[in-house]
């Protein structure tokens, strides 16, 4: 069959454009249940000794976590279960993160992610805009400065979780690492703080995805977006 060439008299105004590679989407979506499992099992472990709180002028302001929350989530008295999940899924979480970072390196996609010159200024502009404090939004191709900092930061947080996790998992064989992390208890605090960081990232991430709309979300699932065709110059 001969291919037929159809010439359009009216050029299309939109097109289907690749936004996220298949590999990137797998890393992203695999990380969802893996990180959720790590945080959930981490909470089952943390419950057994939960000393952290935020104090304001010396007064307890927010205790991690209030007893009713434990009760509501049903995480009391499940330490052994939490340890089982944590020390099995740590391998999959670490592996997914490691392969993701290697992929970024070899594919060159790290260029889309790492902050570049001007990212900081851009990040401030975007943040002010998204908090309704400013009307100006910088015109940007690809990830904006705020995204670059967020997506690079979350990789560092993942690496930090693995390092602090190792320090509290094997403080004798890795005594040097535990010392580097400020000792066992400080490493445990850092490990916890990074978890809070993941949760805060998640909250902002979900809000931003909701604001960006369906086409953007569908892009993360399918890899493709409906995009405007640029006018020929």
């Amino acid at each position: 069959m001969n291919p037929r060439i159809i010439e359009l008299t009216v050029p299309p105004k939109t097109e289907v454009r690749l936004r996220h590679s298949l590999a990137l989407r797998w890393f992203h979506w695999l990380n969802v249940p893996l990180l959720a499992t790590m945080i959930w099992s981490g909470l089952l472990i943390y419950w057994a000794y939960d000393p952290y709180e935020i104090r304001v002028f010396g007064h307890p302001f927010l205790h991690f976590f209030p007893a009713p929350l434990y009760k509501a989530l049903g995480i009391e008295g499940r330490l052994a279960e939490g340890l089982g999940w944590h020390f099995l899924f740590m391998w999959f979480f670490a592996l997914n993160g490691l392969v993701y970072v290697l992929y970024l390196g070899f594919s060159g996609e790290w260029r889309h992610l790492l902050p570049i010159k001007g990212s900081l200024k851009e990040a401030i502009q975007v943040t002010l805009h998204d908090l309704y404090l400013s009307k100006a939004h910088p015109k940007i191709e690809g990830y904006n400065g705020a995204q670059r900092f967020a997506y690079t930061g979350i990789i560092l947080a993942g690496a930090g979780s693995l390092i602090t996790g190792l320090a509290i998992y094997k403080p004798a064989r890795l005594q040097w690492l535990a010392s580097l992390m400020g000792g066992y208890q400080f490493a445990r605090l850092l490990h916890f703080a990074l978890m809070i960081g993941f949760v805060l990232f998640f909250v902002v991430h979900i809000i931003q995805v909701a604001r960006a709309g369906w086409n953007n979300f569908r892009g993360m699932v399918t890899g493709y977006e409906v995009a405007k065709v640029e006018e020929p110059a």
Binding site: G84, A172, R218, T222
Partner: protein, 254 residues
């Protein structure tokens, strides 16, 4: 038989791609749920679905391939002023009467009175006690190195079976409070920081802290460090372990 050529709109093309991707997404969600369901439904080994038990064991094998390491030591100024007891499993209200430290090695039996233990060269160390719950206490211990006791018995490490079982007094009489027993690998038991202690923070051990003699092994969690040690046995099989029967890692080592 030729179809009319027709123009596929952007939306149609996007719908085709979306249908495929969202089917994949749905299947993946089902898959993730399936993994969760499968893991939780496996037969129990020591109170855990076996894949989690196997993961503990694989992690242990990997850790042990890196050698042993040693626990960080502290100074007197780091001491915690509120050592915790955190449980009374295997602990009686009063110090066990006619207490002796017994070693069963094959058919041979050896025992020591507390005075005999105290007459051996003493070892002191200031280490962190790490509870599996997450809290830690820095404690100063005085006692006898396990390896010194074995030397006294004239036993070479290489002649011992691979595993060691420790039991508190009530494991022998099977009367009184719930029994507590710990299983250890030989290498950990013979570690230089493995001691039978009779003094804690400069004072004789109290009953709640494991009088008259407790095992201190800072390269493992507290649940692997038996209080009120009465009996030490050796075997080629892994001895039973109180907390490993309740869902915790048998190894429990750092």
């Amino acid at each position: 038989m030729s179809e009319e050529p027709r123009i596929v709109t952007t939306e149609e093309e996007m719908q085709r791609i979306s249908r495929k991707s969202f089917l994949w997404a749905g299947a993946s969600l089902l898959g993730a749920g399936g993994v969760y369901w499968w893991l939780n439904g496996r037969g129990l080994q020591g109170g855990k679905p076996w894949p989690f038990r196997r993961a503990f064991q694989a992690n242990e094998t990997l850790a042990r391939s890196f050698g042993q390491g040693s626990a960080r030591t502290f100074t007197e100024k780091d001491l915690s002023n509120d050592p915790r007891t955190n449980g009374d499993v295997g602990i009686a209200d009063t110090e066990p009467e006619d207490w002796k430290l017994e070693f069963h090695i094959g058919e041979a039996k050896q025992s020591f009175t507390l005075d005999e233990v105290k007459a051996m060269p003493a070892t002191e160390m200031t280490c962190e006690l790490n509870c599996i719950e997450g809290w830690t206490r820095v404690i100063h211990w005085k006692g006898v190195r396990v390896s010194d006791i074995l030397a006294k018995l004239g036993i070479a490490a290489k002649d011992l079976p691979a595993y060691v079982g420790l039991e508190s007094p009530f494991a022998v009489t099977t009367a009184g409070p719930e029994q507590y027993y710990v299983g250890l690998d030989k290498e950990s038991f013979l570690h230089p920081q493995s001691i039978f202690a009779y003094e804690m923070n400069g004072a004789p051990l109290t009953v709640a802290h494991g009088a008259p003699l407790r095992h201190v092994l800072p390269i493992k969690y507290g649940y692997k460090q038996l209080k009120a040690v009465r009996l030490v046995t050796f075997s080629d099989e892994r001895p039973r372990d109180y907390w490993a029967e309740r869902g915790y890692d048998w190894y429990g080592g750092f």
